[in-house]
C-alpha cells in the first residue's frame, strides 16, 4: 500500500507544474477610438468605431494584424459587431515561410447580428502556433466590423485532458451513418471539442492512430520482456507474451465497442426522447428537426384532398418522405403542373414563401411576389417558416 501511495504521489506532483498554466489568453479590444494591435493590409480601409474596427475591403482585400501574444496560439475567437455577409477568410503566416506567404481558412458566415466565431486552428495541419501575422481576407470584398479578437492557447496537460475528453464526444446519426461512421476523433482543445463533427469532413485525428501506436508499443514491450526473460532468466515466456498481447487487443476492442456502442445507444435514446415519446407539435427527429412532426400532422389533410404539393428548400431530399407517408391516399401534384392546382401545400423551411392578409400564397422574388395560390389559409403553423396551406374550395 505504501508503495502505491509513493508512486501515486509522484505522478500527481509530476503533473502539477504542467497543470498550473492550463489556458493562456490574449484579448485585443478593437472598440473605441484606439483599437488595440498593429494593423496593416491591402485594398482595405480600416476605421475605428465605437462598435469596433470597421474594415471596408475591395475584392481580394485583406487586413493583417501583427501578433503580439506571448504564448502559443491554438484557437482564435473573433467577435463581429455585425455578422459578415460576404465570405471572409482567416489568414496567417508561418514563421518558416516567406513574409508574403499566407495560409487561409474560410470563416463561417452568420445570419445577422453580433456574431462570435471560434476557430480551433490548431487542428489544421498548416497552422503555426507561433504565428506572427494574422488577418482577415475578403475574396469578394466586404464591410465588416470586428469588436474583439482573442488568441487562446493551452498547456500540454490541458491538451492531453482535452484529447481524453474528445474521445467521448459522440457524432449524431445523419444521412452518411448508414455508409460510414467517423468514430472517435481526437482534438486537443476545449473549443475544438464543441465544434467536433459540426463540419464535414470533421477535423480531428482518428483515435485508431493512437490505438495502433498503443498496440505496437504493447507488442514491442512484450517482445522485449519475453526476450529478456529467456536470455536473462532462462524462462520461456513467448507463449505468455502472445496471450497477453491478444488480451490487450481484446481489452482495446471492448473499450472501443463501449465507446461506439455508447454513441449508438445515446443517439437511439435521444430519438426516443425527442421524437417517439415527445408530444405532437414538439417532436424533433435528428437533423430533420420538426420535419417529420410537420408531415405527420399534415397527413390527415394531404390524404384527404385531390392533389397536394410540398415546398422544401432547394436540394434538400425530403420530398420522397412525404410521398411515402402520404401513399396511397395522398395524391401528389404531377410534375410540371402549376401549384395553383394543388389543394393543399406543405411548406417547410421556406422563408421566401408566405401568406398575405388576403389568403394568397406568395413567393418572394426580386420584383413583385409571385402568386402561387389565389386564396386559402394556413391550417397549421409548424415554425415561423413552415406551415400547411389549404386552398379555399
Amino acid at each position: 500500500m505504501s508503495r502505491f501511495l509513493i508512486i501515486a504521489s509522484f505522478l500527481v506532483l509530476s503533473v502539477t507544474p504542467f497543470s498550473a498554466h492550463a489556458e493562456w489568453k490574449t484579448v485585443l479590444n478593437l472598440t473605441g477610438e484606439a483599437p488595440q494591435g498593429q494593423w496593416g493590409g491591402s485594398n482595405a480601409v480600416l476605421t475605428a468605431t465605437p462598435d469596433g474596427l470597421r474594415i471596408q475591403a475591395q475584392a481580394g482585400g485583406a487586413s493583417l494584424l501583427k501578433v503580439t501574444a506571448t504564448h502559443p496560439i491554438d484557437a482564435v475567437r473573433i467577435t463581429f459587431a455585425n455578422s459578415p455577409r460576404t465570405p471572409s477568410t482567416l489568414l496567417w503566416h508561418r514563421l518558416k515561410d516567406p513574409p508574403n506567404s499566407l495560409f487561409e481558412l474560410a470563416i463561417p458566415l452568420g445570419a445577422g447580428g453580433p456574431d462570435e466565431i471560434v476557430l480551433p486552428v490548431a487542428n489544421f495541419d498548416t497552422w503555426d502556433r507561433y504565428t506572427d501575422v494574422l488577418g482577415l481576407g475578403f475574396p469578394q470584398g466586404g464591410d465588416t466590423t470586428v469588436s474583439q479578437i482573442e488568441f487562446i492557447g493551452w498547456s500540454f496537460s490541458e491538451k492531453i485532458w482535452s484529447g481524453v475528453r474528445s474521445f467521448f464526444v459522440k457524432d449524431n446519426i445523419t444521412a452518411y451513418s448508414i455508409n460510414f461512421l467517423w468514430g472517435p476523433l481526437i482534438v486537443t482543445d476545449s473549443l475544438a471539442i464543441k465544434e467536433l463533427y459540426q463540419q464535414q469532413p470533421p477535423f480531428g485525428i482518428s483515435v485508431n492512430r493512437f490505438l495502433y501506436a498503443l498496440i505496437l508499443l504493447a507488442a514491442a514491450a512484450l517482445f522485449v520482456w519475453a526476450l529478456w526473460s529467456r536470455k536473462t532468466l532462462g524462462i520461456a515466456r513467448g507463449q505468455k507474451a502472445i496471450i497477453i498481447f491478444f488480451l490487450v487487443l481484446g481489452f482495446l476492442w471492448i473499450a472501443y465497442d463501449a465507446r461506439m456502442g455508447g454513441e449508438a445507444i445515446a443517439n437511439f435514446l435521444q430519438d426516443l426522447r425527442t421524437y417517439t415519446f415527445a408530444e405532437p407539435g414538439k417532436k424533433q427527429f435528428r437533423n430533420q428537426q420538426n420535419f417529420n412532426d410537420a408531415v405527420e400532422r399534415s397527413l390527415p389533410v394531404l390524404t384527404s384532398v385531390d392533389r397536394f404539393a410540398v415546398l422544401v428548400p432547394d436540394g434538400v431530399p425530403i420530398v420522397k418522405y412525404v410521398l411515402y407517408q402520404a401513399y396511397p391516399k395522398g395524391v401528389p401534384l404531377e410534375a410540371g403542373r402549376p401549384l395553383s392546382e394543388a389543394d393543399a401545400i406543405l411548406v417547410f423551411r421556406r422563408e421566401d414563401i408566405s401568406v398575405d392578409a388576403a389568403g394568397r400564397l406568395l413567393r418572394a422574388t426580386s420584383g413583385d411576389p409571385e402568386v402561387l395560390s389565389a386564396s386559402g389559409s394556413i391550417l397549421e403553423q409548424f415554425d415561423p417558416i413552415s406551415f400547411l396551406y389549404r386552398k379555399d374550395q
Binding site: 451513418s177 472501443y256 465497442d257 461506439m260 426516443l272 421524437y275 427527429f285 411515402y324
Partner: protein, 461 residues
C-alpha cells in the same frame, strides 16, 4: 397488434423452413436448436416470398392474406407430404454441440456474460428505436419500405412505382417481407416491418455462433457472435431498414455450409449451401452479379478437388450440390430474373456495369484505406484480421477456412478493382458501395477471424 403480427409473420415461414430443413437433413439430425430456428426463418421466408412472387406475376395471385396464406399452406402441405413419403420425421430434437475439451475459466465466463448483456442492451434499444421512429435513410424511404407499402396496398408486384421509379429493378425479398408482415397485421405498419431487420440481424449472429461452435470451443463461438454484433457499421445496418444484412446471411449460409460440408463430407450441408446460393439473386442485385458467380467458381473447384481426392463421387456431387442449386435457382430466382429482362429493368445497383471505361481513379485507394483502418466502422477488425491471416496462413489454406477466405478475397479484391478502375469509383469515394460490400461479407470474415484467433490460443495456451 403489430407485435403479434410480427411474431406470427416469423412463426409461419419458420415452420415452412423447419420442414424444408428436415428434408435437407434427411434421416440424421445435424442442426442445433438455435441454428435450426435461424435457418428455418431465413429459408422458409425466402421460399414463401419467392413462390408468392412467381404466383403473382404468372397467375395474378394477390399479395393478400388469402394469397400469402394460401401459398404458405400449399407449400407446407407439399413439403409435409414429401416428408411422409420419404419417411422423414418433421418434429425431432435438435443436435447438441460437442462439449468443450476443457471448461472455460471463470473470468472468461463472467466476461462473456457481461459482453452478451451489453450486446442485448444495445439490440433492445436499437429495436425500440426501429419500432418507434420514422424511416430516415434514403434507400429505406424510396426503396425497401416504400415498395413494401406499394405491394401491400396494390397486392400486386408493381413495375411502375409512385415514389421512385429508379428502384423497380431491385429484387423483391426485403419489400415483400414487409408486405407479408403488414398483411398479417391487416394494415401497413412501419414499426413491425422495420423490426424484421433486427430478426435478420440476430439470425446472422446465431448462424455465426453455430458455425463457430462446430469449429471452436463454446467461448470462442459466443465471442464470435458478440464480435460480429459489436462492429459499429454492421450494428447500424442491423438496426436499419436496408437489405445488406439479409444478403450477408444468405451469403453466409451458402459459403459457410459449403465449407462445413466439404470438411465433414456431409451432403446435407452441401445441399443447404447450394439452395441458399440459388436464392441469392432474389435477395439483392449483387447476389446475381457478384455472389452467385463467385460461389459457383469456388464450389466447382472445391467439389472437383473432393472428387479427385475420392472424398466424394460425381453422383453425390450432382445430388448434393448441382441439383439443389439448379432447383433453387430455377424455381426461386429465375422467375425474377426473367421478369426483369421482360420488363427491361436494370440489373446493376445505382449505375449499370456494362460499357464502363477503364482507368485509374485518384483517391479511391486512400478512401478505402481510411474506411477500413481509420474510421469507426469496424473497430480494430481489419488490422487484427490481417495479422492473423499472415500468422496463421497455414490454417487459411486448409479446410474449412479456405472457401470462406477465397470467397471473401475474391469479392473484396474484385470490388476494389472495380472501384479503382471504373467510374463506379464514386461508390468508394463516398464510401457507399464499398462499405456495403464489407457489411455483406462480415459474418464470413468474423468466422474467419475468430477461428484463426482461437488457433493462436489453442496452440499457445
Amino acid at each position: 397488434m403489430p407485435i403479434l403480427s410480427l411474431l406470427l409473420g416469423i412463426a409461419l415461414p419458420s415452420f415452412l423452413g423447419w420442414i424444408f430443413l428436415r428434408h435437407i437433413e434427411g434421416k440424421s439430425i445435424r442442426f442445433f436448436l438455435a441454428e435450426r430456428l435461424a435457418l428455418s426463418w431465413m429459408m422458409g421466408l425466402a421460399i414463401l416470398l419467392s413462390v408468392s412472387f412467381t404466383l403473382n406475376i404468372l397467375l395474378s395471385v394477390p399479395f393478400s392474406f388469402v394469397g400469402f396464406f394460401g401459398t404458405w399452406l400449399v407449400l407446407v402441405a407439399i413439403f409435409f407430404v414429401a416428408a411422409v413419403f420419404r419417411k422423414i420425421h418433421v418434429f425431432v430434437p435438435s443436435a447438441k454441440p460437442v462439449g468443450d475439451s476443457q471448461r472455460p475459466r471463470r473470468w472468461i465466463k463472467i466476461a462473456l456474460i457481461l459482453l452478451l448483456v451489453w450486446t442485448g442492451v444495445k439490440v433492445c434499444i436499437g429495436a425500440a428505436m426501429m419500432a418507434g421512429t420514422p424511416a430516415y435513410f434514403d434507400d429505406t424511404i424510396k426503396n425497401w419500405n416504400s415498395r413494401g407499402k406499394v405491394y401491400f396496398y396494390t397486392q400486386n408486384y408493381e413495375v411502375k412505382l409512385p415514389i421512385d421509379e429508379g428502384v423497380n429493378g431491385y429484387p423483391p425479398y426485403v419489400p415483400l417481407a414487409k408486405t407479408w408482415i403488414s398483411t398479417i397485421n391487416g394494415d401497413w405498419n412501419e414499426g413491425a416491418s422495420n423490426l424484421l431487420h433486427i430478426v435478420w440481424f440476430l439470425s446472422g449472429a446465431v448462424l455465426v455462433w453455430a458455425l463457430l461452435r462446430r469449429l471452436t470451443e463454446s467461448s470462442w463461438a459466443l465471442f464470435g457472435a458478440y464480435a460480429y454484433i459489436s462492429l459499429p457499421l454492421v450494428f447500424m445496418h442491423g438496426v436499419s431498414a436496408y437489405a445488406d444484412i439479409s444478403l450477408s446471411v444468405f451469403a453466409f449460409i451458402a459459403i459457410g455450409y459449403l465449407s462445413l460440408g466439404l470438411k465433414d463430407r456431409d451432403n446435407a450441408y452441401l445441399a443447404l449451401s447450394a439452395v441458399a446460393a440459388g436464392l441469392l439473386p432474389f435477395i439483392k442485385n449483387e447476389g446475381l452479379l457478384l455472389y452467385v458467380s463467385t460461389f459457383i467458381a469456388i464450389a466447382v473447384v472445391a467439389s472437383l478437388a473432393s472428387v479427385w481426392k475420392k472424398h466424394m463421387t460425381i453422383h453425390s456431387l450432382v445430388k448434393s450440390q448441382v441439383l439443389p442449386f439448379a432447383l433453387s435457382f430455377i424455381v426461386l430466382s429465375l422467375p425474377f430474373i426473367l421478369f426483369k429482362i421482360m420488363n427491361g429493368l436494370a440489373f446493376g445497383n445505382a449505375k449499370g456495369v456494362s460499357g464502363l471505361e477503364l482507368g485509374w481513379h485518384d483517391g479511391v485507394v486512400f478512401a478505402m484505406t481510411v474506411n477500413m483502418f481509420f474510421e469507426g466502422n469496424w473497430l480494430l477488425f481489419f488490422p487484427v484480421l490481417l495479422l492473423l491471416l499472415a500468422w496463421k496462413w497455414k490454417h487459411v489454406v486448409r479446410l474449412p477456412l479456405w472457401p470462406i477466405a477465397l470467397f471473401c478475397a475474391m469479392l473484396m479484391v474484385g470490388q476494389m478493382l472495380i472501384f479503382i478502375f471504373t467510374p463506379l469509383a464514386i461508390e468508394a469515394l463516398r464510401q457507399t458501395g464499398f462499405s456495403r460490400g464489407i457489411v455483406q461479407l462480415m459474418p464470413l470474415l468474423t468466422v474467419l477471424g475468430v477461428v484463426l484467433l482461437s488457433r493462436v490460443f489453442h496452440k499457445e495456451a
